[in-house]
Amino acid sequence: MELFQYPYMQRALVGALVIGLAAPALGIYLVQRRLALIGDGVGHMALTGVGAGLLLNRSPVLAAVIVASLGAITVELVRARGRTSGDLALALLFYGGIAGGVMLVGLSDSTSASLNAYLFGSLSTISPTDLTTIVVLGAAILVTMLALRPALFAICHDEEYARVSGLPVRALNLLLAVATAVTVTIAMRAVGVLLISALMVVPVAAAQQVTRGFRSTMTAAMALGLFAAGSGVYVAANADTAPGASVVLMAIASFAVVALGGVGWRTLRRRRVAAAEPSAVEPHEVVLSRS
């Protein structure tokens, strides 16, 4: 534990915990609307922003927020039009994003080490200013996702019904797109653009193995995200492994534990129910045999 006496380790831990909490709170909506991998694509596009920031000697994080937001909004507009050609448009955006990023970083004076820091995360180099950005934006995401839960649940669960309810569906969709871009960008420093989607999606995937409702899934996913972030940083500090990868592996490990536990619990319950009483069956709608 002595490692956590150093301010840089404390910053790493706080940053990871904020992201661990905020990423699944957003990710649950993406999973619900079958856009689980969108975070990955937006991460690719954020890399172009990083490259532009490094090249122009401006804040890479700020540039990444702007480019990723523009990218996410474009993706949302393509999705809303519902054309089949949409996935090709997405492919163009995603790979254009990562290629642009690699090229721009190369053109700047930065070393390949700084590219790696954004690709795979670099928690231990978080500055106090970075941490403030992560905490403020992370809290904003968290509050928005929790406060707008009924409305966001409605648009992700049944978009047409939400429109007929008079909800501002387009505005909420764009909000979700920008929130994805912001989350990706702050999580970029912790786990890197290549692993961001994992923190948004894996805790949700784990939670829904055992939960029954949307609200309970969201709570459980946030708890699992928090656990993965905390334990991942702890493991990384003690075993000297890459923090981003450690956090993601802890999330996947918790998925495996929850999934196995869920299967075991259901089997146990089914046996108990089967032993207790035969379940009521609705009468057949057709006459199966005449006597």
């Binding site: 669960h157 049944d158 007929v164 409702g213």
Partner: protein, 253 residues
């Protein structure tokens, strides 16, 4: 004469250049229960979707509660029951959570649910006979029960007009009756109903008027027509696939 609730004037609708409806006019007044009948692909679902503004008109106009649809904002007066519940991305949702979405039109997106909202959800669930399933994930319910969840969601908003798209297609007998009962209660309370159906079943006694959509126009507007030919046989059973005009794909939620 009661106030018009839905007024469709000379509406034409097409998908990608192919005309589905041409020159359709329809008026539904308060307290009526109108069934839109027609074969699969006749455009009957398209007509209701156009009324709701989910499908754009290529010409003509729609008015809701005497207001042009473009300026209509009182969505809490309408309850919509789609053909079926979307599968979603696998994130579970309880029956109560889905039905509670029906309150959003009334309370807006920022106000948290209050006591009146919770009571309306309970009442709606009781009306469709699902009061004992509120905490269950909707995915564990049968198709008919899921359909009842959708009508409960619409009823929870305490609407004046219910628009239902094939509410009883492929639904078990128990659910059909529970459905008819809930609808009857709604009509007895002064509600107006527009429902699309392929067959009416237990809903038939409730219908005050039938509109038959055929070949892009309205072929009949009046009392419920008697079934013809082999459709009239008592043991005739409809087996039909769902309509072709639903967009589906990776990016449609």
């Amino acid at each position: 004469m009661s106030a018009p609730v839905i007024t469709v004037t000379r509406a034409a609708i097409g998908y990608e250049g192919r005309a589905v409806l041409r020159d359709v006019s329809l008026t539904v007044t308060a307290g009526e229960v109108v069934a839109v009948l027609g074969a699969n692909g006749s455009g009957k679902s398209t007509l209701t979707r156009a009324v709701l503004g989910l499908v754009p008109l290529s010409s003509g106009s729609v008015a809701l509660f005497d207001q042009p649809a473009r300026r209509f904002r009182q969505w809490h007066r309408i309850g919509y029951v789609p053909q079926r519940l979307g599968a979603g991305g696998g994130v579970p949702a309880t029956v109560r959570e889905v039905v509670a979405a029906g309150r959003l039109a009334r309370r807006g997106i920022l106000r948290p649910p209050g006591r009146a909202d919770r009571r309306a959800v309970e009442t709606a669930l009781a009306a469709v006979g699902l009061a004992d399933r509120t905490g269950d994930p909707v995915s564990t319910l049968s198709g008919g029960q899921q359909q009842r969840v959708l009508i409960a969601r619409a009823l929870a908003g305490e609407p004046e007009l219910l628009i239902l798209d094939e509410p009883t297609a492929g639904v078990d007998a128990t659910s059909q009756e529970a459905f008819a009962e809930a609808l009857q209660e709604f009509v007895a309370g002064g509600g107006t109903v527009l429902l699309v159906a392929h067959e009416l079943g237990p809903l038939r006694p409730l219908i005050s008027r039938a509109v038959v959509v055929h070949a892009g126009g309205i072929a009949h507007d009046g009392p419920v027509p008697e079934p013809a030919g082999h459709h009239a046989e008592p043991d005739h059973d409809h087996v039909h696939p769902h309509g072709p005009n639903e967009p589906a794909g990776l990016w449609s939620a």
